[in-house]
Amino acid sequence: MKRIIDYDPLSGITTTFDYDPVTDMTIIGREQDVEHILKISKALQNDDAYTRQGFKDDWWHYAIIPNIVIEKWINELGVNAFDKNDRKRVYQLLNDPMYRYLKTTSKHHLPAR
């Protein structure tokens, strides 16, 4: 039976626990409502003035990556968004059509490494 270990009101993330005695497997589930974050990303992506201001200020906002997506990449792809050595791979993922909705700009960037 799935049990809730923790609900974090600050992040809106729920952590659940489940145990399968047959396979002796513990399953940790994490859930986050990302609707609001995606709405912000989409609004910013459609705002060219926002990107231009970013270039001007030398602080170009490229993407908002919800925590749950970071965890999905770690668990399923072995890509750690926190790791500098995975930075190129992270930007490749952000530029991929599957995750392009996380971008806050319509322009393209790919770090050399």
Binding site: M1, I5, D6, P9, L10, S11, G12, I13, T15, F17, Y19, P21, D24, M25, T26, I27, I28, G29, R30, E31, Q32, D33, V34, E35, H36, I37, L38, K39, I40, L44, Y50, Q53, G54, D57, D58, W59, W60, H61, Y62, A63, I64, I65, P66, N67, I68, V69, I70, E71, K72, I74, N75, E76, N80, A81, F82, D83, K84, R87, V90, P111
Partner: protein
Amino acid sequence: MANPVGTFQTHQAIGNREDLTDMIYNIAPTETPFMRMAARAKATAVKHEWQTDTLAAAAANAQTEGDTPTNITVTPTTSLFGATQISSKTFNISGTQQVVRKAGRADELAYQLVKYGKELKRDMEKALTGNNGYSAGTSGTARVTASLESWMSTNWTSQSSPSSAASPGFSTTGTVAPTDATTQVTVTAANVQAVIRACWTAGGEPDTILCGPYNKVKASGFAGIGTQTITQPAKKTGQAMIVAAADAYVSDFGTLTVVPDRFNRDRTMCVLDMEYWAVAYLRPFHSFPLAKVGDSDQRMILAEYCLESRNEAASGKVVDLATS
């Protein structure tokens, strides 16, 4: 269980026989980002020591033909040290609780390990990213590892004016806790960028800005995301949602990720080159049963670790920031 629209899910299946250290590391990694980002190293003594070295500053270097060279005075490496800190959680499962749950003992033990492993990790994140100074400890006082804020003494700025803040960093008697200024002020993009520049000048390549929830929202404001945008639609959790995500930025200094961390002090924003931070474990996460004293099973999860600052000058901090 029904999920609200927009819910994104991920699941991590963990076999109980998997190494406990990996299991605990894998639970909710974004909750304790510093631990997840720092390298994992090995400590072999309670006074953990390591060495750092620096290159001399670039200088004019032109020699005459047939020159007789002069030897360079070799500078020895600098030895740094820290204390390993013991953090633990002890839990008790009653005999009744073990039989009333359908799947029984293994289920309950796994649940408690996950729950308290998660709590232990949060305690450790707080210890690692906070402002604790080094303490060698005594028979009656626990050893304390110097925290992230305490190590950084080269590149830091306090926006509070006049500032009473101090950050002496490492000395021969150990790393000293920083002193906070009495007033706190709102963070500005200029100050954060000045610290990033200072880290670069010192040879670092900062890749992460670690900040508390209030200043994560402020950092989003640097790029011109208005409060209206952040809180729209008028949802009571609007601001909360933006702190549950990392922001990717591109600047002259490369790509940076602004990462929210609810366990470091919100009044300090850390600009980090994560290549130079590690957590050295004398004893990695492990759990063991304690002596049985009644109709219950007592178990402890424990880790003994030390924050290893491999070059504090590659990172920096903006301190004394407003938190509300």
